[in-house]
């Protein structure tokens, strides 16, 4: 009879033999693909430049939009500007518009008031 533990212990760490190690290494190496050329690494300067130009572009686009919004408000109320040369309050401006059948909303007038007075 054989002790199971003895059998298991005697197997510990034993490895099967490879008949011809060089041939087996050739067999493995034949399957190894050529490594693709790695892309050039992005240097920190390039990364920083990309960040700066992105931020600058965003600011320019923002300024452009802001500028256009400002022009729209001015273009839509030429009469009001003319009507408020006497330094009146927003309520007076509104009343003036109503009396001259001007259909601007109170919100538009408020916006103009802040811009021009």
């Amino acid at each position: 009879m054989n002790k199971i533990d003895n059998i298991l212990d005697s197997l510990k760490g034993k490895q099967p033999v490879i008949d011809c190690e060089d041939d087996f290494a050739d067999f493995i190496m034949d399957a190894i693909p050529e490594r693709e050329e790695s892309r050039p690494r992005r240097t920190p300067i390039v990364i920083a430049l990309r960040a700066v130009t992105s931020i600058a572009a965003a600011i320019i686009v923002g300024l452009f939009i802001f500028q256009n919004l400002d022009d729209d408000v001015e273009a839509s109320a030429p009469k009001i500007i003319k009507a408020n040369t006497s330094g009146s309050t927003i309520r007076n401006v509104y009343n003036h518009c109503v009396s001259h059948s001007n259909t601007l909303s109170i919100n538009q007038l408020k916006a103009m008031y802040h811009e021009k007075f």
Binding site: N2, I4, I7, S10, G13
Partner: protein, 183 residues
Amino acid sequence: MTQIDSQILNQCISGDRNAFRVIVKTYQRMVFSLTLKMLCNEDEAKDMVQETFIKVWQNLPKFDPQKTLSTWIYTIATRLCLDRIKLQKHTYQLPDDDTALRNYATHQDGQAELENSEWVQLVTTLTNGLSPKQKLIFTLIQLEGLESSEVEEITGMDSTQVKSNLYQARKNIKERLTKLGYE
């Protein structure tokens, strides 16, 4: 375990195939030992060694030099073996006899070299009926002789899971071998 120096590793990372051949020659027997015992099929085991080294070659740039290369290669090989076992749903037939184990046991002088076919028959006799995880843990600790901590790193299991799987594996093996007349 032979250690590969960092210069060879760097050469491999930069695409030097001759340097990689050094790694292959250093670790091929270790990987073949694991794959043969896990898959119990010599041809499949050789194919799996090839697949393992392809993965090693492709992922070498991601290798953390702080870790042990052999442990990392073991990790890749064990995952591939487990995937293969799950994919093919290996069902090992109970061998008609335990000739290889009996021969080994009767000539147990510690020097006996086993043929690959004998390894296949012997490991099949021992691990028949074990779950893939139990078989993996048993193979790594009992047959390959790795430390428990290294097995935890390779398999991603904690110490409790490793101990539990090893205990169950040994229990199953002892029960079956007892029926075959071993004690």
